[in-house]
Every structure is written in C-alpha cells, then in structure tokens.
C-alpha cells in the first residue's frame, strides 16, 4: 500500500538535511561532548591545572547524600508540577470546549501565561506570597497561618510548585482542547442516547480517547519541570531555605558557576543528559504507537 517517492538525485537529500545536522552538531553534540570530557577532569577555576581523574567526579556526585536527596526532591517536584499543570488545564479545556461565544478570547487569555518568562513568573508569585505584603500571604496570615517561604521549606516548595505549574497551564490547555475537538461528536452523542451522563461519558469515552495527548503532555511537562524551572527557582528561592527547593538543574548550575567546580558540575550535566535521553526514549516508544495522526 505504501508509496515511496524516489529521488533520482543522490546528493539533494543530504544537502537538504545538512542545515539540521549542522545545528545538531554545533548545539548538541559539541557541547555534550565537551561536558562528557570535562566531567572526567579536575581543574582549578581558571584552567591552569587540568588533571584527568576518570570517573571520580561521577563517583563523588553519586555518593553524595545531598545529591541523592536533591534527585529524590527533583522527581517529587517534577511530578508535582506536572500534576498541578495538567489537571487544571484539562478541566479548563473541557469547559472551554463547550463555550460557543467568545471562545477565541477565552483561549487567548488562558494561553498568555505560557508567554511569560520563567523568572518573571517566579517574581510575580514571589510578590503574591511575600510574607509581609503579599496579596495571598496577607489573608493567610489573617486566618492564622504562619506563612513564611523564607524560612519554611514546605512553604517555599509550594510557591515554586505553583509558579512553575501556572506557567505551563496555557500550553497544556491548548493541546487538551485540540485533543477534545478531534474526538468524534457521534461517539459522545451515541453514548448520550444510551443514557450515559456527562461524568460517565467523560471517563468512558473522552478520557481514553484523549490518552495519546495526555501521555505526550506528561512527557513534555516532566521535561519542562526537570530543566526549564531553573528561572523560577533562581528568582524565588535560590534553592533554599536549606536545600528544600534545590533541584538537579539548579545544583549543576550552582556547582559550575558559583562554586566554579567544573568537573563535578559537568558530571551532573551528563547525568541529567541521560535522564532526558531516558525520557525521550519512553516518549518515542509509547507515543509513536498510540498517536494516530
């Protein structure tokens, strides 16, 4: 059944591919290769002395209880952000799907947060939750909650979770809405005629048919939470108090840029790279099978 187009030119496909390959080489393979090479070195901050130490940096990083605690925290944080950004997005999408008048306006408004830079989103929530003047923190105080993200690790985690998730809701909303609109209306109408109520229709028809979208968003959001939340954390808590909001990407940045320990920072970058490769493999394995374009 499959028809193949065969080009008589042998060179053309390679030429057309060349820009993409060049970009991948320059922006991925080259820095990734450097990171791998640097992760095997011990060097002073200015590079006068460079010693090859093999896998010592990996050993040191993976044996550090603080690193392992940060890894555990990162997974909790990432799943938290994913849940907090996907569930409200799905809810909003289901509602928006039924709106007839002014649908575009609603959609536009809901997507705006996605266009905000992570650091700005962080600063916004920082102000809302600022213990003495924050618009949200003040009522919390009035009802007797001793709210202080500066010193309370749980409070700090809540702020970075909300700020990170909020930013992503618009993006998820768009995908869910597109997914909802591609579900054939006839299926839902048939179920309605059979007497299925709205909630039952959602769980037995809509949600299963949305699963490819949901899975795609799950992977995208996890990757976002792992890597792109740096700006929020840097702006709001700098990983503190204690280490209660330090995630892997923040620690790699800190050890490289502030502590100037390039070897251990690179080792962490390489570990992160393997995590994202793992996530991508899962994405391709499952999504390719389930998504029907």
């Amino acid at each position: 059944m499959e028809r193949k187009v065969v080009f008589p030119q042998k060179l053309l496909p390679y030429l057309l591919l060349a820009p993409q390959i060049a970009i991948t080489l320059v922006f991925f393979f080259w820095p990734a290769g450097q990171a791998i090479w640097m992760s095997t070195l011990l060097q002073d901050p200015l590079g006068f002395s460079v010693q090859f130490v093999g896998l010592e940096n990996f050993q040191a990083v993976l044996q550090d209880p603080a690193y392992l605690a940060t890894m555990q925290r990162t997974f909790l944080f990432s799943f938290g952000v994913t849940a907090l950004s996907m569930i409200p997005a799905l809810l909003l999408a289901v509602m928006a799907d039924r709106v007839v008048r002014g649908a575009t306006a609603y959609k536009t408004i809901l997507v705006i947060p996605y266009a905000i830079a992570p650091a700005v989103a962080g600063a916004l929530w920082l102000f809302l939750f600022q213990p003495s003047i924050g618009t949200i923190a003040y009522p919390l105080r009035l009802i007797g909650i001793d709210w202080n993200p500066r010193i309370d690790g749980t409070d700090a985690m809540i702020v970075v979770l909300i700020a990170s998730a909020w930013k992503q809701i618009g993006y998820n909303f768009l995908f869910f809405l597109a997914g909802l609109q591609s579900i054939p209306k006839s299926l839902i109408e048939a179920a309605a005629i059979d007497g299925a109520r709205e909630i039952r229709r959602f769980w037995t028809i809509v949600f299963p048919l949305l699963s490819p979208t949901t899975f795609f968003l799950l992977v995208v959001n996890l990757t976002y939470a792992f890597f792109d939340t740096f700006g929020v954390i840097h702006a709001v808590t700098q990983g503190g108090p204690g280490k209660s909001t330090e995630v892997l990407i923040y620690k790699a940045w800190y050890d490289g840029l502030i502590a100037q320990d390039l070897g251990r920072s690179s080792a962490q970058a390489v570990i992160l790279m393997f995590i994202v490769i793992g996530l991508t493999v899962i994405q391709f394995r499952y999504i390719e099978r389930k998504v029907h374009y």
């Binding site: 200015l46 006068f48 204690g242 100037q260």
Partner: protein, 446 residues
Amino acid sequence: MHTRRTLLAAAAVAGLACSPALAQQARTPISMWIGVTGPAQEEIMRYAQEFNASQTQFEAKVEFRGQYPEQRAAAFAAFRAGNPPHIMQMFDAGTGDMFALPRATIPVSEVMQRAGVQFDPAGYIGPARGYYSRPDGTMNSLPFNVSTAVMFINDDIFTKAGLDPSKPPRTWPEVIAAANQIRERNAAECGFTTTWLAWTMLEQYSAIHDLPLSTEANGRGGLNAVLNFNDAPRARMIQTLVDASRNKAFQYGGRSNDANALFVAGTCAMLIQSSGGHAAIARDLKAKFSVAPMPFWPDVIAEPKNSIVGGASLWVFNAPNRSAEELRGVAQFLAFLARPETYVRFAKATGFLPATNAAFQTMQAEGFFQQNAGRDVPILQLTRGTPTANSSGYRFGRWTEIRDMYHEEVERALQGQQTAQAALDNTVRRGNDALRQFERSVGAAN
C-alpha cells in the same frame, strides 16, 4: 543627478562623523567589569567619565556584568578564552581563590611600579591592606569599596518601645533584652534581623571575639587549612537566633541583602548590615536611625577586637595579549581611582569606608563625622585595638560556596530540623571537603 547629489552629501556627513571616531580610536581602551548596583555603580561610572575627560590617551570602559558571582563567572570564562577584562571587581569572599591562582593576575603594586606611577600600600587602612596584600607587603589588588558590618537602629521604634536610642545595646544580652521589650510592647513586628548571615554571624563575629575560623592562621598560612569553627561560642550565636525567632525578637530575612527590606519597611527595629548600605537606608527609611557597633558577648571577650573588611577590590588580569601601553593605562586609571579625593567622594556618597588613611583624615578635617553622626562607627570598629591572627581576615578557596553551606545549615536549624551544633558540624564537614577539593585542583597550577 539627484542620486549623485545625495551620495555626495552622504559622503560628506560620513566624513564628518568619522573624524571624532578616529580621534576616539586612537585612545587605548581599558575595560573594567564591576558587580555593584545603585549609588556605588553610579559613582564608579562617573569616575570613569571624569578619567576619560582628564586625558586623551586612554578610554576607561566600565561595564556592569551582573552581581558579583555572575560577574566573576563571566570574567573567568573570558580569561579561559584568552580575553579577560583589564580590571575586575572581585568581592571579599573571592579573594582566597585569586590568591591561590597568582599567575592569573598582576599585583597592583607591580602594575604601578612598571608604569612608574607613585603608589604606597602603607597609605591604606590596616585591615584593608592586610586583607589584600601578600605577607611581603606586595598589594595584590586595589581596595576600593571597603566596608564592615555594623548595627543600624530605628530610633522611632526604640522610643515607642520605651528604649533610649542614644544608648544603643552594646552586647548580645542587651540586644536580646531590647528586642524582647520591642516585641512585648508591640513597637514593631520584629526585634532585629541581619543581612549576609555568614559574613556577619560567622566571619565578623569570629574576628571581634578573637576566635579562629580554621587552622593555618585562617588560611593565610596555606591551602591546607582545616575549618574548626564548630565550637560552643559559635553554636551559641546560632542557638540565640533560633530561640529569638520564636517570639520574633529575631526574624530571618534571607541570605544576601534581602533583610534590608525588613528594616527600611519598619518591620524590624534593628539590622546588622554592611556599612556600604548606609546611603540606601538613609534614602529609603522613613524614620530617624542611628548606627552602633556590632554587639558582642561580654563573657567570651571583655574588649572586642576589630571587625574585618568586606566589600570588594580591583584585580588586574594577566593575559598574553596585554600590551605595555594597556598596562600603563590600567595603572593610570587605578591611580585616578585611588586618589584621596575619589575615595572621599565615594565614601560620602555610598557609606563605604575611606580606604586610605589620607582619605579618612580629610573627612575628619572637613568635620564630616560631626555633621553625619554614626558614619565613623564602622571605621572606628574596624581599626580599634591591635589585630590578632583571628581578626586579620581569612583566605580560603571556594569561600563563596562555604558561605552558602553555612546559610543552608543555619536555615535548617531555624526550621527546627537540626541543632545549632549540628548546623556548624555539617558546615565544617562540607566546607572542609570543598577546601580539600580546591587544594587538589590548584595543587598543580602553581
């Protein structure tokens, strides 16, 4: 016809525009990266303009490249790429890293000597000279924004609480008593707070109580120094903060300068802060305030020692592509900044301290300290008594990171997750790991 006339006109304009540009190109550019903001940054920018107007050979270009740590990272990356700025402003905590990598920089004394510019390190106030000089007296970097930690007091809140602002608390027991009274009478939401926790509660605290931070004369004796500040007097200070935070006699305000906001908003009655923050407090606080020395524990030391300098100094990078002409320009610009009149202006405008004895004497002679009560508190505290090995500063690699370890561990103690002693034990253990790693990394560099 029309086109040709336009072209001619364009060429004429271009020619005119070129001549000043050419004159500017003949000047040798001198680049300096700084990491300060606010009044201090504006002042430095102004001095560069004045330097450029004062001569025709060199052009000083001052750039803000992010806060100190970011600026340092950018300068180090530029150094690795072979093209660092001529001059870099490096904060106090980074001094140890620079001393451990002497090939990266040219000592300021030598820069001046090579250019034949008169320069006398002995003219600098003792604590600044000691902090930035080698044992042989060679000054490695030029002290510029010199500060130390002092206590600011909101006079209005003191009066409201029935305290006398003209008799500020001198010791920690007095500070705690005053803070408790402020809370009991509800004169303010919080008694006292501090900025730069590790700098004030560990570094300054240890110096004025004559307690060592490590073996090897606080790291000046070698990179093999071992941190040992996990003792009872240091633990008591943390425990005091933990206890005082229960009734808000103390409120933690964050790691860096954030606590300053609590003071200028009138939330906290007392603030331990860099003297360099004076101008900003005077600008933002809507109340009368006074300045007092850092408190001490009378049962640990009867006569507190001098505190130590903070702030930053100016380093001259050594790079293969530097010409003798450029280094001459660097020397000229640094000499311009090091004139007593510049130091005096900078001190008056910001609250940083006059870095040289001559500048201090000029300010005294002008009657500046009579007219501006409290402005001499930091310099008197910095220069009181005879410095000991423990109050002559410190020199450690990776100290920026070790400060944050202290912050993290104390924050965990304030959250009730560990004891004050455990916070110090953990800081010392993690800090020593970092020192050993640094020692290994630079071992083969020199």
